[in-house]
Protein backbone atom coordinates (compact mmCIF):
# COMPACT_ATOMS: atom_id res chain seq x y z
CA UNK A 1 0.00 0.00 0.00
CA UNK A 2 2.77 2.39 0.93
CA UNK A 3 4.72 1.34 -2.10
CA UNK A 4 1.68 1.98 -4.24
CA UNK A 5 1.37 5.44 -2.72
CA UNK A 6 4.98 6.07 -3.59
CA UNK A 7 4.42 5.04 -7.20
CA UNK A 8 1.33 7.23 -7.42
CA UNK A 9 3.18 10.21 -6.07
CA UNK A 10 5.86 9.70 -8.72
CA UNK A 11 3.28 9.70 -11.51
CA UNK A 12 1.67 12.82 -10.06
CA UNK A 13 5.03 14.54 -9.77
CA UNK A 14 5.86 13.66 -13.38
CA UNK A 15 2.58 15.16 -14.49
CA UNK A 16 3.33 18.22 -12.40
CA UNK A 17 6.74 18.60 -14.03
CA UNK A 18 5.22 18.40 -17.49
CA UNK A 19 2.47 20.91 -16.66
CA UNK A 20 5.01 23.24 -15.08
CA UNK A 21 7.24 23.13 -18.15
CA UNK A 22 4.33 23.74 -20.50
CA UNK A 23 3.10 26.59 -18.32
CA UNK A 24 6.63 27.98 -18.35
CA UNK A 25 6.80 27.92 -22.14
CA UNK A 26 3.38 29.57 -22.34
CA UNK A 27 4.53 32.24 -19.93
CA UNK A 28 7.63 33.00 -22.00
CA UNK A 29 5.46 33.30 -25.09
CA UNK A 30 2.63 35.40 -23.70
CA UNK A 31 4.16 37.04 -20.61
CA UNK A 32 0.86 36.36 -18.86
CA UNK A 33 1.52 35.89 -15.15
CA UNK A 34 -1.32 33.42 -14.89
CA UNK A 35 1.02 30.81 -16.33
CA UNK A 36 3.73 31.74 -13.86
CA UNK A 37 1.36 31.22 -10.92
CA UNK A 38 0.33 27.92 -12.43
CA UNK A 39 3.91 26.75 -12.85
CA UNK A 40 4.72 27.72 -9.27
CA UNK A 41 1.65 26.06 -7.76
CA UNK A 42 2.08 22.85 -9.69
CA UNK A 43 5.85 22.63 -8.98
CA UNK A 44 5.43 23.24 -5.26
CA UNK A 45 2.65 20.71 -4.78
CA UNK A 46 4.38 18.20 -7.02
CA UNK A 47 7.53 18.53 -4.95
CA UNK A 48 5.67 18.14 -1.65
CA UNK A 49 3.80 15.06 -2.88
CA UNK A 50 6.99 13.55 -4.24
CA UNK A 51 8.80 14.10 -0.95
CA UNK A 52 5.89 12.55 0.94
CA UNK A 53 5.92 9.66 -1.51
CA UNK A 54 9.62 9.09 -0.94
CA UNK A 55 9.00 8.90 2.81
CA UNK A 56 6.20 6.39 2.16
CA UNK A 57 8.48 4.40 -0.12
CA UNK A 58 11.28 4.42 2.44
CA UNK A 59 8.94 3.23 5.17
CA UNK A 60 7.65 0.50 2.85
CA UNK A 61 11.21 -0.59 2.25
CA UNK A 62 11.95 -0.62 5.97
CA UNK A 63 8.87 -2.68 6.77
CA UNK A 64 9.62 -5.11 3.99
CA UNK A 65 13.37 -5.55 4.15
CA UNK A 66 14.63 -3.83 7.29
CA UNK A 67 16.52 -0.94 5.67
CA UNK A 68 15.43 2.69 5.40
CA UNK A 69 17.11 3.18 2.07
CA UNK A 70 17.40 0.35 -0.40
CA UNK A 71 18.99 2.21 -3.33
CA UNK A 72 16.06 1.06 -5.36
CA UNK A 73 16.18 2.66 -8.81
CA UNK A 74 12.75 4.24 -8.53
CA UNK A 75 13.30 5.63 -5.06
CA UNK A 76 16.66 7.08 -6.01
CA UNK A 77 15.30 8.64 -9.19
CA UNK A 78 12.54 10.25 -7.14
CA UNK A 79 15.13 11.64 -4.76
CA UNK A 80 17.07 13.20 -7.62
CA UNK A 81 13.76 14.63 -8.77
CA UNK A 82 13.39 16.41 -5.45
CA UNK A 83 16.95 17.73 -5.77
CA UNK A 84 16.07 18.97 -9.23
CA UNK A 85 13.05 21.02 -8.23
CA UNK A 86 14.08 22.29 -4.82
CA UNK A 87 16.50 24.78 -6.44
CA UNK A 88 13.61 25.95 -8.62
CA UNK A 89 11.78 27.08 -5.49
CA UNK A 90 14.94 28.50 -3.96
CA UNK A 91 15.61 30.49 -7.11
CA UNK A 92 12.15 32.02 -7.01
CA UNK A 93 12.79 33.15 -3.48
CA UNK A 94 16.11 34.70 -4.46
CA UNK A 95 14.72 37.01 -7.16
CA UNK A 96 12.72 40.05 -6.08
CA UNK A 97 11.56 41.45 -9.35
CA UNK A 98 8.48 39.54 -10.54
CA UNK A 99 9.10 39.50 -14.29
CA UNK A 100 12.71 38.46 -13.95
CA UNK A 101 11.71 35.85 -11.39
CA UNK A 102 9.05 34.34 -13.59
CA UNK A 103 11.28 34.26 -16.67
CA UNK A 104 14.25 32.73 -14.83
CA UNK A 105 12.06 30.15 -13.12
CA UNK A 106 10.52 29.27 -16.48
CA UNK A 107 13.96 28.55 -17.94
CA UNK A 108 14.88 26.28 -15.01
CA UNK A 109 11.57 24.45 -15.28
CA UNK A 110 12.20 23.69 -18.96
CA UNK A 111 15.74 22.46 -18.29
CA UNK A 112 14.47 20.26 -15.48
CA UNK A 113 11.87 18.60 -17.68
CA UNK A 114 14.44 17.67 -20.32
CA UNK A 115 16.63 16.25 -17.60
CA UNK A 116 14.02 13.92 -16.09
CA UNK A 117 14.16 11.15 -18.71
CA UNK A 118 17.96 11.28 -18.74
CA UNK A 119 18.09 10.97 -14.96
CA UNK A 120 15.58 8.12 -14.93
CA UNK A 121 17.60 6.17 -17.48
CA UNK A 122 20.96 6.99 -15.89
CA UNK A 123 19.93 6.00 -12.38
CA UNK A 124 18.37 2.85 -13.74
CA UNK A 125 21.53 1.85 -15.55
CA UNK A 126 23.60 2.67 -12.52
CA UNK A 127 21.58 0.72 -9.98
CA UNK A 128 19.75 -1.93 -11.92
CA UNK A 129 22.77 -2.73 -14.08
CA UNK A 130 21.58 -1.63 -17.44
CA UNK A 131 18.19 -3.22 -17.48
CA UNK A 132 15.96 -0.25 -18.06
CA UNK A 133 13.11 -1.46 -15.96
CA UNK A 134 11.07 1.22 -14.40
CA UNK A 135 7.90 -0.65 -13.53
CA UNK A 136 5.85 1.87 -11.70
CA UNK A 137 2.55 0.33 -10.78
CA UNK A 138 -0.61 2.00 -11.97
CA UNK A 139 -2.95 0.90 -9.28
CA UNK A 140 -6.08 2.56 -7.97
CA UNK A 141 -4.05 4.80 -5.64
CA UNK A 142 -3.17 7.01 -8.57
CA UNK A 143 -6.60 8.56 -8.69
CA UNK A 144 -6.85 9.84 -5.11
CA UNK A 145 -3.24 11.02 -5.11
CA UNK A 146 -3.64 12.85 -8.41
CA UNK A 147 -6.90 14.42 -7.29
CA UNK A 148 -5.27 15.49 -4.04
CA UNK A 149 -2.47 17.03 -6.05
CA UNK A 150 -4.85 18.84 -8.36
CA UNK A 151 -6.89 20.18 -5.44
CA UNK A 152 -3.84 21.40 -3.53
CA UNK A 153 -2.39 22.91 -6.69
CA UNK A 154 -5.52 24.89 -7.47
CA UNK A 155 -5.65 26.20 -3.92
CA UNK A 156 -2.01 27.22 -4.17
CA UNK A 157 -2.66 28.76 -7.57
CA UNK A 158 -5.49 30.90 -6.26
CA UNK A 159 -3.39 31.90 -3.29
CA UNK A 160 -0.56 32.99 -5.59
CA UNK A 161 -2.88 35.02 -7.82
CA UNK A 162 -4.30 36.75 -4.74
CA UNK A 163 -0.85 37.53 -3.39
CA UNK A 164 0.06 39.06 -6.73
CA UNK A 165 -3.04 41.26 -6.78
CA UNK A 166 -2.33 42.39 -3.22
CA UNK A 167 1.24 43.24 -4.11
CA UNK A 168 0.11 45.39 -7.00
CA UNK A 169 -2.41 47.19 -4.81
CA UNK A 170 0.18 47.77 -2.15
CA UNK A 171 2.62 49.29 -4.61
CA UNK A 172 -0.02 51.52 -6.13
CA UNK A 173 -1.11 52.61 -2.65
CA UNK A 174 2.46 53.46 -1.75
CA UNK A 175 2.60 55.97 -4.55
CA UNK A 176 -0.33 57.90 -3.24
Amino acid sequence: MLAALFDSSVWTALAAAAIAAIASILFLRSRNFLYDSLALAVSEIGLVLLAAGIVAGAIAGRLAGGFWWTWDARLTTALVGVLLYAPYLMLRRAIEEPTRRAASAAVVSIFALFDIPLIAVAVNWWLARRTVSLPLSTGWTILPVALLGAALASIRFRQEQQRRAQDAERRTAQEI
Binding site: F33, P98, D167
Partner: protein, 233 residues
Protein backbone atom coordinates in the same frame (compact mmCIF):
# COMPACT_ATOMS: atom_id res chain seq x y z
CA UNK B 1 10.49 58.43 -39.97
CA UNK B 2 11.73 59.68 -36.63
CA UNK B 3 14.98 58.51 -35.19
CA UNK B 4 13.46 57.39 -31.89
CA UNK B 5 9.74 56.69 -31.55
CA UNK B 6 8.14 55.59 -28.29
CA UNK B 7 4.55 54.59 -28.95
CA UNK B 8 2.18 53.96 -26.07
CA UNK B 9 4.78 52.20 -23.96
CA UNK B 10 3.90 50.62 -20.65
CA UNK B 11 6.54 48.87 -18.61
CA UNK B 12 5.66 46.81 -15.57
CA UNK B 13 7.81 45.44 -12.82
CA UNK B 14 5.52 42.56 -11.99
CA UNK B 15 2.16 44.25 -11.63
CA UNK B 16 3.57 47.70 -10.87
CA UNK B 17 3.70 50.13 -13.81
CA UNK B 18 7.05 51.88 -13.92
CA UNK B 19 6.24 53.50 -17.26
CA UNK B 20 2.70 54.51 -18.18
CA UNK B 21 1.57 55.17 -21.71
CA UNK B 22 4.72 56.98 -22.80
CA UNK B 23 4.32 58.64 -26.17
CA UNK B 24 7.23 60.58 -27.51
CA UNK B 25 9.40 61.07 -30.55
CA UNK B 26 12.81 62.40 -31.33
CA UNK B 27 13.48 63.45 -34.90
CA UNK B 28 16.83 63.01 -36.53
CA UNK B 29 19.21 65.66 -35.29
CA UNK B 30 17.17 66.43 -32.19
CA UNK B 31 18.54 66.46 -28.68
CA UNK B 32 15.93 65.42 -26.13
CA UNK B 33 16.61 66.15 -22.49
CA UNK B 34 14.73 63.75 -20.27
CA UNK B 35 14.22 65.23 -16.84
CA UNK B 36 12.39 64.17 -13.71
CA UNK B 37 12.86 63.37 -10.07
CA UNK B 38 14.68 60.26 -8.88
CA UNK B 39 12.50 57.26 -9.41
CA UNK B 40 10.42 58.97 -12.09
CA UNK B 41 11.42 56.35 -14.62
CA UNK B 42 14.12 58.09 -16.68
CA UNK B 43 16.59 55.22 -16.44
CA UNK B 44 13.83 52.67 -17.06
CA UNK B 45 12.71 54.54 -20.16
CA UNK B 46 16.22 54.87 -21.54
CA UNK B 47 17.04 51.25 -20.92
CA UNK B 48 13.78 50.18 -22.56
CA UNK B 49 14.54 52.32 -25.61
CA UNK B 50 18.02 50.80 -25.73
CA UNK B 51 16.55 47.30 -25.66
CA UNK B 52 17.92 46.13 -22.31
CA UNK B 53 14.44 45.25 -21.21
CA UNK B 54 11.21 44.98 -23.09
CA UNK B 55 8.04 46.99 -22.72
CA UNK B 56 4.96 44.96 -21.95
CA UNK B 57 2.76 47.22 -24.04
CA UNK B 58 3.47 49.60 -26.88
CA UNK B 59 6.33 49.82 -29.33
CA UNK B 60 9.75 51.33 -29.57
CA UNK B 61 11.19 52.12 -32.97
CA UNK B 62 14.72 53.17 -33.78
CA UNK B 63 14.55 54.43 -37.37
CA UNK B 64 11.58 52.15 -37.78
CA UNK B 65 13.25 49.07 -36.30
CA UNK B 66 12.88 47.22 -33.03
CA UNK B 67 15.69 48.05 -30.58
CA UNK B 68 16.94 44.46 -30.43
CA UNK B 69 17.43 44.14 -34.19
CA UNK B 70 21.09 44.06 -35.18
CA UNK B 71 20.71 47.10 -37.43
CA UNK B 72 19.19 49.14 -34.61
CA UNK B 73 21.87 48.02 -32.18
CA UNK B 74 24.54 49.08 -34.63
CA UNK B 75 23.10 52.57 -34.71
CA UNK B 76 22.81 53.04 -30.97
CA UNK B 77 25.40 54.17 -28.50
CA UNK B 78 24.60 53.90 -24.81
CA UNK B 79 26.24 55.38 -21.74
CA UNK B 80 24.70 54.12 -18.52
CA UNK B 81 25.67 54.51 -14.91
CA UNK B 82 28.69 52.24 -15.29
CA UNK B 83 31.55 52.90 -17.70
CA UNK B 84 31.12 49.50 -19.38
CA UNK B 85 34.80 48.91 -20.02
CA UNK B 86 36.98 46.22 -18.54
CA UNK B 87 39.32 47.09 -15.68
CA UNK B 88 41.73 44.31 -16.50
CA UNK B 89 42.18 45.29 -20.15
CA UNK B 90 43.99 48.30 -21.54
CA UNK B 91 42.20 51.27 -23.07
CA UNK B 92 43.25 50.15 -26.54
CA UNK B 93 42.25 46.53 -25.92
CA UNK B 94 38.86 47.65 -24.68
CA UNK B 95 38.10 49.82 -27.68
CA UNK B 96 39.46 47.25 -30.13
CA UNK B 97 37.19 44.65 -28.52
CA UNK B 98 34.10 46.76 -29.00
CA UNK B 99 35.26 47.71 -32.49
CA UNK B 100 35.32 44.03 -33.37
CA UNK B 101 31.94 43.37 -31.79
CA UNK B 102 30.46 46.22 -33.80
CA UNK B 103 31.97 44.87 -36.98
CA UNK B 104 34.14 47.89 -37.75
CA UNK B 105 36.40 47.39 -40.79
CA UNK B 106 39.58 48.32 -38.90
CA UNK B 107 38.92 48.09 -35.18
CA UNK B 108 42.41 48.99 -34.07
CA UNK B 109 42.54 52.10 -36.21
CA UNK B 110 39.14 53.31 -34.99
CA UNK B 111 40.20 52.58 -31.43
CA UNK B 112 43.33 54.69 -31.77
CA UNK B 113 41.38 57.50 -33.40
CA UNK B 114 38.92 57.67 -30.57
CA UNK B 115 41.63 57.47 -27.96
CA UNK B 116 43.04 60.62 -29.51
CA UNK B 117 39.70 62.35 -29.71
CA UNK B 118 39.13 61.79 -26.00
CA UNK B 119 42.66 62.71 -25.02
CA UNK B 120 43.66 59.22 -23.92
CA UNK B 121 46.29 58.43 -26.55
CA UNK B 122 49.14 58.60 -24.04
CA UNK B 123 47.61 55.94 -21.81
CA UNK B 124 46.39 53.69 -24.58
CA UNK B 125 48.27 50.69 -23.21
CA UNK B 126 47.50 51.39 -19.58
CA UNK B 127 45.09 49.10 -17.77
CA UNK B 128 41.78 50.75 -17.00
CA UNK B 129 41.98 49.81 -13.35
CA UNK B 130 44.83 52.29 -13.01
CA UNK B 131 42.94 55.15 -14.58
CA UNK B 132 41.63 58.15 -12.73
CA UNK B 133 37.88 58.72 -12.55
CA UNK B 134 37.90 61.28 -15.31
CA UNK B 135 39.98 59.06 -17.60
CA UNK B 136 37.56 56.19 -17.07
CA UNK B 137 34.65 58.44 -17.96
CA UNK B 138 36.37 59.65 -21.11
CA UNK B 139 37.02 56.05 -22.13
CA UNK B 140 33.34 55.29 -21.59
CA UNK B 141 32.50 58.13 -23.93
CA UNK B 142 34.99 56.81 -26.50
CA UNK B 143 33.41 53.37 -26.28
CA UNK B 144 29.93 54.77 -26.87
CA UNK B 145 30.98 56.86 -29.86
CA UNK B 146 33.42 54.39 -31.37
CA UNK B 147 31.10 52.77 -33.87
CA UNK B 148 29.70 56.11 -35.07
CA UNK B 149 26.19 55.56 -33.73
CA UNK B 150 23.45 57.80 -35.09
CA UNK B 151 21.37 57.56 -31.93
CA UNK B 152 22.95 58.28 -28.56
CA UNK B 153 21.21 57.27 -25.37
CA UNK B 154 22.86 58.78 -22.33
CA UNK B 155 21.79 58.15 -18.74
CA UNK B 156 22.91 61.09 -16.59
CA UNK B 157 26.14 61.42 -18.57
CA UNK B 158 27.38 64.55 -16.83
CA UNK B 159 27.07 63.17 -13.33
CA UNK B 160 30.41 62.60 -11.66
CA UNK B 161 32.48 63.80 -14.62
CA UNK B 162 35.49 65.97 -14.02
CA UNK B 163 35.82 69.23 -15.95
CA UNK B 164 37.98 67.78 -18.68
CA UNK B 165 35.55 64.91 -19.27
CA UNK B 166 32.60 67.30 -19.33
CA UNK B 167 34.36 69.41 -21.93
CA UNK B 168 35.14 66.37 -24.07
CA UNK B 169 31.58 65.10 -23.87
CA UNK B 170 30.02 68.46 -24.65
CA UNK B 171 32.29 68.89 -27.65
CA UNK B 172 31.47 65.45 -28.97
CA UNK B 173 27.75 65.96 -28.45
CA UNK B 174 27.82 69.30 -30.26
CA UNK B 175 29.76 67.76 -33.13
CA UNK B 176 27.29 64.90 -33.17
CA UNK B 177 24.30 67.19 -33.34
CA UNK B 178 25.93 69.15 -36.13
CA UNK B 179 26.29 65.83 -37.95
CA UNK B 180 22.56 65.14 -37.45
CA UNK B 181 22.96 62.54 -34.73
CA UNK B 182 20.00 62.11 -32.39
CA UNK B 183 20.52 62.35 -28.66
CA UNK B 184 18.24 61.30 -25.82
CA UNK B 185 19.80 62.26 -22.54
CA UNK B 186 18.44 61.89 -19.03
CA UNK B 187 19.88 64.34 -16.63
CA UNK B 188 19.98 66.07 -13.30
CA UNK B 189 22.47 68.61 -14.57
CA UNK B 190 19.84 70.81 -16.09
CA UNK B 191 22.10 73.61 -17.17
CA UNK B 192 24.55 71.56 -19.24
CA UNK B 193 21.75 69.51 -20.74
CA UNK B 194 19.41 72.38 -21.52
CA UNK B 195 22.18 74.22 -23.33
CA UNK B 196 22.40 71.37 -25.81
CA UNK B 197 18.76 70.32 -25.89
CA UNK B 198 16.30 71.05 -28.66
CA UNK B 199 13.45 69.31 -26.85
CA UNK B 200 12.56 68.54 -23.28
CA UNK B 201 10.46 65.77 -21.73
CA UNK B 202 9.48 65.67 -18.06
CA UNK B 203 8.74 62.33 -16.46
CA UNK B 204 6.68 62.21 -13.31
CA UNK B 205 6.02 58.86 -11.66
CA UNK B 206 6.31 56.99 -14.93
CA UNK B 207 4.10 59.38 -16.84
CA UNK B 208 4.98 62.05 -19.34
CA UNK B 209 4.06 65.36 -17.72
CA UNK B 210 5.50 67.52 -20.48
CA UNK B 211 7.01 66.97 -23.90
CA UNK B 212 7.89 69.79 -26.23
CA UNK B 213 10.50 72.09 -27.67
CA UNK B 214 13.01 73.73 -25.41
CA UNK B 215 12.17 77.36 -24.81
CA UNK B 216 14.25 80.32 -23.74
CA UNK B 217 12.49 80.34 -20.37
CA UNK B 218 13.84 76.88 -19.72
CA UNK B 219 17.40 77.92 -20.49
CA UNK B 220 17.11 81.02 -18.33
CA UNK B 221 15.59 79.14 -15.41
CA UNK B 222 16.30 75.43 -15.46
CA UNK B 223 13.74 74.84 -12.71
CA UNK B 224 11.01 76.28 -14.90
CA UNK B 225 9.72 72.99 -16.29
CA UNK B 226 9.48 71.42 -12.85
CA UNK B 227 7.67 74.43 -11.51
CA UNK B 228 5.23 74.63 -14.39
CA UNK B 229 4.52 70.96 -15.08
CA UNK B 230 5.97 68.93 -12.25
CA UNK B 231 4.39 67.67 -9.05
CA UNK B 232 2.55 70.24 -7.10
CA UNK B 233 2.32 72.48 -10.12
Amino acid sequence: MSAVAVEGVWKYYGDYPALRDIQLEAAEGACLALIGRNGAGKTTLLRTIAGFSSAQRGKIKIFGREPREAEARRRMGFIGHGISVYDELSALENLTLFGKLYGLPDPKKSANEWLERTGLERVRNGLVREFSRGMRQRLAVARAFLHEPTVLLLDEPFTALDDRAIAVLQRLLREGLAARKTIVMSTHQLREALELATHVALLNRGQLAFHGARTQEMVDDPGYVYARYGEGA
